[in-house]
């Protein structure tokens, strides 16, 4: 015999596929739409994509992930890509993706005008912005300890900073890798000297954060005294109203490009290419200032916004040599983990 309730429940269970179908249909999308994973935070990506739609009539469907999450998904989805474009994020991330064969080489019209460090030789990725590192310190912390904003890498070794610095973890963050290569560069690529410095800095580091900007809020709040961040994150902290000072080391500091790439096997490759054309051209990069996005434009035809230029004035900024960094990255990060992070 059958219990009526059980029968009813069984019938309800049969509804599951129907529901599945309904939910599946709900995600169907319009024709002139390009899909993207954005590594740029939503408050920067959204206005850019809205401008793109205004300019071309093509809508961008996007979802935001941190660089690691975005690339992990692109790799997992390799057999059946869900998006057409990977937008924003340090070139580092794109370099890692090339090894996984997830990108389709494409050279937009702006390709020829960009300096070599802003493009991959085969067009696997191309830069849309540049992002120098800075020192950012909490004003109250500086005042309490009678310190001036650090103007040299050695200033950060001051015992006053003991356990008060936050910076990114090289295992997860491009910011950290750029920082470590900056330290190598200012030490003339002498690894012993560079690692000596990092080991001496270690006691002053309170936390190595997962993401590059992870330490900005703690510094803003004074939970940490200072740290090394990308300028966009640092200026954003300032704009939020936190009292922080941005400074540059006299020995110089590195910068990293932000990229864009077409996904191999994209469902809408033509629309994806249009987005890349637009993002690498002045059409997009001229909008940075309007939306207070403090990236340095990659396209040489675009002027740096005056207040950003004022911050950068006099700063000694150098590009990280992509070939050198690419060839040594894994070894250096491994060494950093073994000797600095977990001595």
């Amino acid at each position: 015999m059958t219990h009526p309730l059980l029968r009813r429940m069984a019938r309800a269970l049969a509804l599951v596929p129907l529901l599945a179908f309904a939910l599946g249909c709900a995600t169907a999308r319009a024709a002139d739409t390009v899909n993207a994973y954005s590594i740029w935070p939503e408050n920067w990506a959204r206005p850019m994509f809205e401008e793109f739609e205004k300019a071309t009539g093509i809508k961008v469907n996007f979802v935001r992930f941190s660089s690691g999450e975005a690339l992990a998904r692109v790799i997992a989805e390799k057999g059946n890509p869900r998006v057409d474009v990977l937008f924003g994020g340090p070139v580092e991330t794109f370099a890692a993706g090339i090894g996984e064969g997830v990108f389709e080489p494409y050279k937009p019209p702006a390709y020829a005008t960009l300096p070599p460090r802003f493009k991959h030789a085969d067009g696997q990725w191309i830069a849309i912005a540049d992002d120098p590192l800075v020192f950012m310190t909490n004003d109250k912390f500086l005042k309490e300890n009678n310190l001036k904003a650090p103007g040299s890498w050695n200033d950060l070794l001051n015992p006053a900073y003991k356990n008060m610095l936050q910076m990114a973890d090289a295992r997860t963050s491009g910011t950290a890798v750029t920082r470590i290569f900056s330290i190598l560069e200012v030490n003339g690529r002498d690894e012993t000297k560079a690692f000596d410095y990092m080991k001496k800095l270690r006691p002053n580091v309170q936390l190595y954060t997962k993401s590059g900007g992870g330490g900005t809020l703690p510094v803003g709040l004074g939970q940490a005294g200072g740290g090394i961040f990308f300028i966009v994150d640092a200026l954003d902290t300032k704009a939020k109203g936190y009292d922080v000072t941005i400074s540059f080391p006299q020995e110089g500091i590195g910068t990293a490009a932000e990229g864009i790439a077409l996904i191999k096997g994209a469902k809408n490759p033509e629309l994806g290419k249009k987005l890349i054309d637009w993002a690498t051209s002045p059409a997009m990069q001229n909008q940075f200032a309007k939306y207070k996005i403090n990236f340095v434009p990659a396209n040489p035809a675009v002027q740096v916004e005056p207040s950003l230029a004022a911050v950068l004035k006099g700063a000694k900024i150098f590009a990280i040599d992509a070939d050198y960094a690419g060839a040594n990255r894994k070894r250096i990060v491994d060494r950093w983990v073994a000797e600095v992070l977990n001595p």
Binding site: L23, T27, R46, V63, G68, N342
Partner: protein, 567 residues
């Protein structure tokens, strides 16, 4: 009382019942699709590299000194969280059950204890940094301490204990309440001191409950990745965080999967202990025979005050943390600009509407299906005989016992490519919730059905009712609470879970919790706090509504809805 109850209802070759056959077949298909298949795909992915079978690299990562340390750290953390959480939970449960608290006070305690359970991830962790960090409101502003280190084992352990002890409370409270105080009263009147009564009567009766609570907390801590991500710092790596970083930081899916599988071993051991050892040691508390309650004060007034003070302190800490969260959602920028504003709420109700709508829609779909799934599986495995009954029970628990990260990755890998393409749909998230959190409903159903003494059903049939009537009048009212409990848990988790679903959100469907994490990493603390407050508010309203419905069906002695949240 565990295991098959070959009582009246199952006698007589009912396995030929077509409804049972159909339902069990349908459930097996679903379990194969949403539990076995994704995990197998993950396993295959872990052992193959560009099409060839290899274990190269896996051994390296599994024997790596730091990963081995992370593994032991995870076990240490889980043990500490289990111990402190159980003690706290017991104190609360004992006070609630024996302290003769007035109703309103009990209400306050219940509500404050529920807060951590129904909150989005990170909330306690963030509040701890704010309060106890190097410039924390308490450590620095109040006590003037300098150079405090907040990252590490201590803070992670305290944060998790505070987040998860309500599980112990909710597990232990009904058990303590069910211990017949007549027995205690008898011991007391025979001349035993209160302490002796507690030690020789109450405590031994509660021991299975304590063991159960410990194991539940142990498992919860083992799977938690959000708290260590924020609080553990660099000196105290734990495995779930390492697995997540391996995948998202080093783009090493195989290594991440291998680390997750390493977590599987302790998770499964704990689960099996809990399921097959502890749960057999409970005593039948619902019998056909009623027992009058004789008032007995099992604790002295001084003791009662002491207990109350401890509970009040813990409850105050929790309330303080959430007050801080509410405050953060109402000021421009916590720590910098404390001007009152509703701007963050405007932000979440404009830019965040899609996430809110998607989350509610997904929760609304997952909720009834999850409740139904729980009751069906629970009823079938307890009361029906069919092939593969025991394995069904075990398989249905797998996604629940595994850390969320591994389930999320497994779903992403399995459902991205044909034959079954689900990534990008809401269904993949709904399915994840049903099969990951529905098992609470299964356990609730099993527990309730096991608590029904055969004498109840026999009495009904002896009085002339057919088995259908018995089912409808006796069994059904007893499993309906489990249905609502299962459904409630699925709803709460749908609103608050992140570890699995961070891999399943897509262009089409996003979730509030993912937005919270995103806001957190983008230093938009205000919107993150506002989203969290919204989640807590919605969950409280829904729980209250479910509680109302539940009271309509409440059979005497049936577990209250909240007690099932624990499992």
């Amino acid at each position: 009382m565990a295991g098959p109850t070959s009582g009246v209802l199952t006698a007589g070759g009912r396995h030929r019942d077509p409804a049972v056959a159909f339902t069990s077949l349908a459930l097996w298909l679903l379990l194969a699709l949403f539990v076995v298949y994704p995990l197998s795909m993950l396993f295959v992915r872990m052992l193959t590299d560009h099409g060839t079978i290899t274990t190269a690299g896996l051994a390296t990562i599994l024997t790596d000194r730091h990963q081995v340390r992370a593994f032991w750290n995870s076990l240490l953390l889980a043990t500490l969280v289990g111990a402190l959480g159980t003690v706290l939970g017991f104190l609360f449960a004992f006070t609630a059950a024996r302290g003769r608290l007035p109703r309103w006070l009990l209400g306050i305690v219940d509500a404050s204890v529920l807060l951590p359970l129904v909150s989005p991830p990170f909330t306690t962790a963030i509040a701890i940094i704010f309060s106890f960090g190097p410039r924390g409101l308490i450590t620095y502003e109040l006590l003037g301490l300098k150079g405090v280190t907040v990252y590490g084992l201590t803070s992670t352990f305290l944060s998790e204990a505070l987040t998860y002890f309500p599980i112990a409370y909710l597990t232990l409270r009904p058990i303590l309440a069910a211990i017949d105080s007549n027995i205690e009263g008898m011991a007391f009147s025979l001349g035993a001191s209160r302490w002796r009564v507690f030690r020789t009567v109450t405590l031994p009766l509660a021991i299975p409950g304590l063991a159960n609570a410990f194991l539940l907390l142990f498992a919860a801590s083992l799977a938690d990745f959000a708290t260590p991500l924020i609080l553990a710092g660099n000196q105290f790596p734990v495995l779930p965080t390492q697995a997540y970083l391996q995948i998202t930081g080093l783009f090493d899916l195989r290594g991440g999967a291998a680390l997750s599988f390493a977590l599987l071993v302790p998770a499964l051991i704990v689960f099996l202990l809990q399921r097959y050892w502890v749960s057999r040691r409970f005593y039948v508390t619902i019998t056909g025979k009623g027992a009058g309650q004789t008032p007995f004060d099992s604790i002295s007034p001084a003791m009662r005050n002491g207990l109350l003070a401890v509970c009040a302190t813990v409850a105050l800490v929790i309330v303080y943390f959430y007050a801080l969260l509410l405050y953060a959602s109402l000021v421009m920028a916590l720590g910098a600009n404390h001007t009152f504003t509703l701007q963050h709420y405007r932000t979440i109700f404009t830019e965040g509407t899609k996430a809110i709508r998607d989350t509610l829609l997904i929760a609304a779909f997952a909720m009834p299906l999850g409740g139904l799934y729980g009751v069906l599986v629970g009823y079938l495995v307890t009361k029906k005989q069919f092939v593969g009954r025991r394995s069904m029970e075990l398989v249905s628990m797998i996604n629940y016992a595994l850390p969320g990260t591994i389930v999320g990755i497994a779903y992403l890998i399995a459902f991205n490519d044909p034959p079954i393409e689900l990534t990008g749909t809401a269904l993949i998230i709904v399915a994840c919730y049903i099969f990951r959190y529905g098992p609470t409903g299964i356990r609730a159903t099993v527990a309730l059905l096991q608590q029904i003494d055969k004498s109840l059903e026999e009495a009904s049939q002896g009085l002339g009712a057919g088995s259908a009537t018995t089912f409808r009048r006796v069994t059904l009212p007893l499993i309906l609470p489990a249905f609502f409990a299962g459904l409630g848990v699925v709803f709460i988790r749908s609103m608050t879970a992140i570890s699995a679903t961070i891999f399943l959100v897509s262009i089409g469907w996003t979730l509030i919790t993912v937005k919270i994490l995103e806001n957190m990493t983008e230093l938009s603390l205000g919107p993150a706090a506002a989203f969290s407050v919204l989640v807590v508010a919605i969950v409280f309203v829904v729980i209250a509504a479910i509680g109302r419905v539940l009271r309509l069906f409440r059979a005497p002695g049936a577990m209250p809805m909240t007690s099932l949240l624990g499992g």
